[in-house]
Point group: C2
Chain length 522, copies 2
């Protein structure tokens, strides 16, 4: 079935009523401060603020009324806030939210400093205590993280000296803008490394360091659309949600292709859907590691399918979403090689996943010939506009450059091997314990039954979908951590399923009968 | 004239031939390393790497051939690299690039570590020296920066303890995903502060912290389009380039509206263009500070124009691009107030500009009722997808929270006043020296003639367009720095224009006759 994206009907959207009614809980400390605190002597204080501070040289034509008198915006009315406060004490039941928990219940409000805060040091002390508690929670949360493909094991101490610079690679990485506080020389070094990994010559590639995997996908699909304005987007239904977001944003027609049980694209179905639209060019998203099952689409088979259906190389554009495994697959012997020697248009990978980085980032590489379909000059920047974002984080290239230099291709290979071993180990331990699990041959994502208890899921920060959950074995996941996890899971399952009222879920439809170990399939 | 965006014809794009032919210069150190270095004993080395390292417990069914033998991808052929090397020695003239300088000439290549690097410490020492030199250049570049609206004056030392966590606010700020290493509690505190600034109740707003001003604009325009799928986008021709990029990405019809000399939107022309399309809803970008001239569109007049042309409030959507002055205008008495009490749909502001932040970021606030036009559930995240990006930088909210808490509304007001004073001072010094300059009443952007010498422009990192340049007076720009700049400019002008062969440029068409001090207009 073809879906017309972005026309307002949006049939692929989930029912809107599932996501409405987000109750806003107000923190108990967000009630208006007592008038004495906000207003006491505020005019005097403002005058002092405005006139006594050492602001240099006041021009004669300067109009002091230019600045308003009381800069504090009014805050929301009492009733609303009281409502929030009461709800916490249970006197009024707060409105429920449908998905997850509402952050307003635990937010760190920004409060207006008092005039004497600077002197007393109270404010500094308050902020330091909030940050110290936060740091402690981060340590704890980092220790128990298993579900998202983020390598949390990095040490960028050598780069902390650069934290207090406002580093911005605005515009194109290959063309310096007039803003001098940038890190393009590191960014291009990183891009060269990835272009070599994916076999594209230095004078034939273009790319940039993105803010995340989604930006890479938004860019890749946009390049494809600019190359083929009337192209149809094909993506397997297990593609990352950003692919379908792109289709909607860009108002592209999109065909969702079925998947095999493994999560790979079903090329039989792909062929059938291609055949329906032979008159239109094809833009294809190929998953180098799907989000949930870590399945790697067979790039070679996708190309073969296109060729067999009569699509010549000048009538399709392939974007490889390698957010997860784009940096792992090159080191795995049996993996379909991601290479620009094949007829592909772009590859993206995340930087905060396998590499590890304090903030999300990614790398996008495409062919130089394609980028001109997209770019325009921006004189203000003395550059051109070929990226999705304008201002760009200049710290991310430094983090990536640092890690790539330290580890090198060989270092990453070692880590890939370690992850694959440990993923095998995890799968082995789960199945030995009678817990059905699936591990794709080229993957370090272990899929298994969704735990019964949300608290357990949250503690280990498992990503879940339907009846399944997964652990993505990244370089920071040790055997010890996996043992702790499996031991606790076994213990909990004994409680959940011990009285035989509840059975472990059947996951045959998700991971195949052969992998399921439920009552029926074991 | 109406322009159909994103249909492949793209008449608003600048000529493509201006941006082609980007020659790639290869650094002299990117020639292939000597074979002995890469290959010597590589098989032995690989075996040692693969087998002797302390990788825990190898499962019985693990296939060691899973990992490829030599992980080093081949590098580009000699000829290309030699070409690059030669060009630096001047033997072969490198191909010219059209805009700016090519970064490949000075990039820090990522090199593969030798096996003994770990022991010798050579690599660590090499990297430390690169970083130390880089740090020194950042100090120098930061000192001389005037042209971009970035406040480079901040001290986030208290937050450096958090740098080694992978903080990711993936998904919606108000709904926790299962990934536990996030900073939503700080993000929501920051959002609350901005919602109060722009007068929207806590239970009526939605928003998030973006990666930059562009992401805010992309989001605001997208919300507008989802509310009015057949709406026409109106934006003044001095709007930020991301607005027109959005129109192209989203395949929206776009009307460019003329501007006054000040840079403000010309509401006469706006009215005329609205009248042409009374049958279609209107999506309007209102600039709270244009990029080049710092002009503030008159929000009240825009709304009045819409009403007078027969557009009822349910037939238009206004996005306020406050990237530059969105946080300054609320403190300026004469400025048209940006407030959600007026019929506007969204406001965005940059976080790395007036606030100051090591990496680009921004804040986007919209009405909760609109966001449902955009969002969808994403079960994988246990969240919903209403943001442009998926993974989101969790450090940016911490930086913003820290500064907002320290400064408060009153602190920002003081800084706004200081910036306005200093901008007046700069304009005064320029005109006293016979240099035509313009400073919009509500602005801290001083516009003047483009310096003759690119080296001078680069030293002070001035943003230029056509015959004009500008300085954006941010809180870190002191009177001393402005004096240094003006003194040097006066000195240089004596050289450039001393022999009377060259005249200073006329900038009357850019900033108005009354502001121009060229031979003809002084």
């Amino acid at each position: 079935m073809m879906e017309k994206m972005g026309d307002g009907s949006t049939p692929f959207w989930l029912p809107q009523n599932q996501i409405r009614g987000v109750a806003i809980h107000f923190p108990s400390n967000s009630a208006p401060p007592p008038p004495s605190k906000v207003m006491a002597g505020s005019i005097d204080m403002m005058l002092r603020d405005l006139n006594l501070d050492a602001v240099e040289s006041l021009p004669e034509d300067f109009d002091p009324t230019t600045v308003i008198n009381d800069p504090l915006p009014p805050i929301a009315n009492d009733a609303l806030h009281t409502n929030g406060v009461k709800s916490i004490n249970g006197k009024e039941k707060p409105r429920e939210i449908v998905l997850g928990r509402n952050v307003h219940t635990s937010c760190h409000e920004v409060t207006e400093p008092d005039a004497d805060d600077d002197d007393s040091g109270d404010r500094e002390a308050y902020m330091a205590s909030v940050l110290a508690r936060y740091r402690k929670s981060l340590v704890e949360r980092t220790k128990h993280h298993l579900g998202y493909p983020y390598n949390l094991d990095f040490d960028y101490g050598a780069l902390s000296q650069l934290q207090h610079f406002s580093i911005n690679n605005l515009g194109d990485p290959f063309i310096e803008s007039n803003y001098g506080v940038h890190s393009r020389q590191f960014e291009v070094g990183v891009l060269d490394w990835f272009a070599r990994l994916w076999e594209l010559e230095k004078n034939e590639y273009w790319g940039y360091i993105t803010n995340c995997g989604t930006e890479g996908n938004l860019h890749g699909i946009l390049v494809g659309r600019e190359v083929f304005p009337d192209g149809i987007l094909y993506a397997s239904c297990e593609s990352h949600y950003s692919i379908f977001k792109a289709a909607r944003m860009y108002r592209m027609d999109c065909e969702k292709v079925n998947t095999l049980v493994s999560g790979e694209i079903d090329c039989e179905d792909f062929k059938a859907k291609l055949s329906l639209h032979k008159d239109k060019p094809a833009i294809i998203n190929v998953n180098i590691g799907t989000t949930v099952k870590g399945a790697v689409d067979d790039l070679d088979l996708v190309i073969k399918t296109l060729e067999e259906t009569g699509f010549s190389h000048d009538r399709f554009y392939i974007h490889c979403d390698g957010a997860l495994f784009g940096l792992m697959m090159p080191f795995v012997k049996l993996a379909p090689k991601v290479s620009f020697k094949k007829p592909i248009g772009s590859v993206s990978v995340s930087g905060h996943k396998f590499v590890g980085c304090p903030m999300p980032c990614g790398v996008q590489i495409t062919r130089l010939e394609h980028i001109n379909a997209l770019s325009r000059n921006v004189e203000y920047l003395a550059s051109r506009d070929a990226t999705i974002m304008g201002s760009r984080n200049g710290h991310a290239p430094l983090f990536l450059w640092y890690t790539l230099n330290r580890k090198g291709y060989r270092g990453f290979q070692k880590e890939v091997q370690k992850c694959l071993r440990n993923a095998h180990y995890l799968k082995g331990r789960l199945t030995s314990a009678g817990i059905g699990a699936m591990l794709n041959e080229l993957s370090s994502t272990v899929v298994f039954e969704r735990p019964q208890d949300e608290e357990f899921t949250r503690k280990w920060q498992l990503a879940c979908q339907g009846s399944i959950a997964h652990v993505v074995v990244m370089p920071n996941i040790t055997i010890d951590k996996l043992d702790d996890f499996v031991d606790e899971l076994i213990e909990k399952r004994a409680v959940w399923y011990g009285n035989e009222k509840l059975q472990p879920p059947c996951v045959a439809s998700d991971i195949g009968e052969s992998n399921c170990l439920c009552v029926k399939h074991k």
